[in-house]
């Protein structure tokens, strides 16, 4: 932190406060608290992926009066994030901090939440523990697998062969659930559909992601989708090979004008609006906020040229069903080693599914 940046920011703040003070006598006395929303990203906010999804949502809040947005990109999951968040609180007056990367939570968010009890901290992964963690901290997380299920439905009816390729980063439950949901979606419209998965082992490894995409296309897959941080390489490589694609995290439609079907997207603005409204009204925003299609936290990218008319119809129907809470994991289902892993219908938010460590029968791949 250089001296010049502190003084510049402080000056701006003083200026803003002065403006507000002069405005007060003429304006109306506001009961509402102004929201200063500080958001930290782990990567660039225009990466066609996870960070962009957050940034797009936050950008939509900038237009709302009473909300100020402070952003910082490329903040590593180290002490650096504590410094970024503290500077947002002390220099910009942030009263709502959104930490968007998994590794930010412990110890950084937890420690700062203890230090600044008046600031609301929310973290984008279901890690908040109501017994152990500070009450001004909290978690939010939409279940993206519901939108991947819709991807699967659309892919199952847009793929001539029913072979779907999936480039995955790491075999953690949320990734596995996306893979399984693509399969279940595809099988709901084409019982012979399969999903072939290649794990790259890292969240962002462009060269290996391109290799994995090529390997899947060579193996005969004609729809490619993925769960990596920045799907740009996967989508562009697949488009270059002339196969269809389904997106992940943010809209990749512009990257694949010929083969894009649809994509699974987060609708973070629903959550961020909820928080901002609560703070503006002087209430405590919900500590633990999860959801999906049933409470407007997800969307699918508008259909691209790769989606067939039947696919669009079936995918729209699937979205309606999910909004009504239709379950995705319906018993009996076996994993690809032959064990029964789903013995009854599970609600889409059933805690059993959070611990997923299997790939369903029909998925070619292994988690080890």
């Amino acid at each position: 932190m250089t001296f010049s940046s502190i003084s510049r920011r402080s000056l701006l703040r003083v200026g803003a406060a002065g403006l507000a003070a002069t405005a007060l006598p003429f304006g109306f006395a506001r009961a509402q608290t102004n929201v200063v929303l500080g958001i930290v990203y782990v990567g660039p906010k225009d990466d066609f992926g996870w960070n962009q999804a957050h940034a797009v949502s936050v950008a939509s809040l900038k237009a709302v009066s009473g909300i100020t947005v402070v952003e910082e990109e490329n903040v590593p999951e180290t002490d650096a994030v504590s410094k970024s968040m503290e500077s947002m609180i002390n220099l910009d007056g942030a009263n709502l901090i959104l930490a968007t990367s998994f590794g930010y939570y412990s110890p950084f968010v937890v420690e700062l939440a203890k230090k600044y009890p008046d600031v609301t901290f929310r973290h984008a992964a279901p890690l908040w523990n109501k017994d152990a963690d500070p009450q001004n901290a909290g978690s939010y997380f939409p279940y993206l697998n519901q939108a991947h299920y819709v991807n699967g439905v659309a892919a199952g009816l847009s793929s001539p062969t029913g072979k779907i390729g999936f480039v995955a980063a790491k075999p953690i439950p949320s990734v596995l659930s996306n893979i399984n949901s693509v399969l279940l979606g595809a099988r709901s419209v084409n019982p012979n559909a399969t999903v072939q998965v290649i794990f790259t082992g890292e969240w962002s490894l462009p060269v290996r992601e391109a290799e994995a995409t090529n390997a899947l296309v060579d193996a005969g897959c004609d729809v490619i989708t993925c769960h990596v941080d920045s799907p740009k390489v996967v989508i562009e490589t697949a488009e270059g090979r002339g196969v269809k694609t389904c997106g992940h995290n943010a809209s990749q439609a512009p990257l694949a004008p010929k083969g894009f079907i649809t994509g699974a997207e987060y609708k973070w603005e629903t959550i961020y609006k909820t928080y901002a409204d609560a703070i503006a009204a002087g209430q405590t925003p919900p500590n633990f906020l999860v959801g999906g299609y049933n409470n407007d936290m997800l969307r699918n990218t508008p259909y691209g040229a790769g989606a067939t008319p039947e696919a669009i119809k079936a995918a729209d129907a699937a979205i309606e069903a999910l909004k009504g809470g239709a379950p995705i994991y319906k018993g009996m289902l076996k994993d690809n080693a032959g064990n029964v892993v789903v013995d009854k219908d599970y609600d889409n938010y059933d805690p059993y599914l959070d611990g997923m460590n299997w790939l369903l029968e029909g998925v070619q791949g292994s988690i080890t």
Binding site: G43, P44, D46, D47, F48, N74, Q196, V197, I198, F199, T200, G201, S204, L205, P206, V207, R208, E209, A210, E211, A212, N214, A215, L216, V217, D218, A219, D229, S230, K232, V233, E236, T237, R241, P254, L255, Q364, G365, S366, T368
Partner: protein, 305 residues
């Protein structure tokens, strides 16, 4: 199963051709620099900056080949800077190299911000495998012209080191600065030029990454290719031709991980993804013990002195 073996072999062939080019250019650049008796560990910085400059230039001008040239020039700039700093008395070229690596990547990240999102025009490839009638093979044989440029350069360098006055001068400054001085050759000038030229080549390697394969620009693009390529030079024992084989070998080994998963050998992918590093280590250990490898090392290098 035969089919699966064939699939993996085709994937390795494709991987060798697709992935090897950046390694080739960086390794050739480093070979030239080290032959003159100086180490430039900062070529990772040249690679990343080259990738960014190439992408930005291609996006702004619409000409990817202009991007390649600009990437080379950015590498030349970093190389020349390294060469100049190392000329100063009591400067350690390894330490400067590490600083240049941070400088190059930092510069690239700073100026590269606005170019992460846009799509820049890419380099075209030459389809050499369409006659085979096998789509996977045809894809593997989509070869970028830079691949051939790299091979041509290696042959030319190898010949020049043996048969031209300039080649002999570079080798002499690398093997014995005292002899070079006795011959009336300016050691500093030769090393400066060799480092700058090596930087130019590494920059072109970066252009291949951002403009062809994988064909994007972002901060995670390189994943250490520039560092590996510097190690490949030692692996190739300072021989340009062997550097080409080392790069091809490394690219092919890198394709093993994804290809095995594609044919259904799905467990142990962390192990298979590490194949290039494991194989390199094994060959290093086998080859490092030989007398020949000690003889091949330029005598003036600060690691061998």
């Amino acid at each position: 199963m035969d089919n699966a073996v064939l699939t993996v072999l085709i994937a390795m062939l494709g991987g060798a051709i697709r992935v090897s080019t950046p390694f080739m250019f960086v390794a050739l650049g480093e070979t030239l620099t080290e032959k003159s008796g100086r180490i430039n560990l900062g070529l990772e910085g040249n690679l990343v900056l080259g990738a960014m400059v190439a992408y930005a230039t291609s996006y702004l001008t619409g000409s990817p080949w202009l991007g390649v040239l600009a990437a080379g020039m950015s590498g030349l700039f970093l190389g020349a800077l390294h060469g100049y700093i190392c000329k100063l008395p009591k400067v350690n070229d390894i330490a400067v190299g590490i600083a240049m690596m941070s400088f190059g990547t930092g510069l690239a990240f700073f100026f590269g911000k606005p170019f992460i999102q846009p799509q820049a025009p890419k380099l075209d490839s030459i389809p050499l495998g369409d006659w085979t009638g096998n789509p996977a093979l045809a894809q593997a044989l989509q070869v970028n012209p830079l691949f051939f440029v790299g091979i041509f350069l290696a042959v030319a360098m190898s010949w020049a080191f043996r048969n031209t006055k300039w080649g002999l001068i570079v080798r002499m400054t690398g093997d014995s600065a005292a002899s070079a001085k006795a011959m009336g050759v300016s050691v500093d000038l030769v090393r400066f030029l060799a480092t700058a030229a090596g930087g130019f080549l590494a920059g072109i390697g970066g252009a291949f990454l951002s403009l062809y394969y994988p064909g994007i620009w972002n901060q995670g693009l390189s994943s250490g290719q520039g560092l590996m390529a510097v190690a490949l030079v030692i692996f190739a024992r300072w021989d340009p031709i062997r550097a080409i084989f080392a790069a091809l070998f490394f690219g092919a080994a890198g394709a093993i991980g994804p290809a095995l998963q594609a044919v259904g050998i799905t467990s142990g992918y962390y192990f298979f993804n590490a194949a290039p590093y494991i194989l390199t280590l094994v060959i290093m250990i086998i080859s490092a013990g030989s007398k020949a490898s000690a003889r091949d090392a330029p005598g003036e290098l600060s690691i061998t002195k």
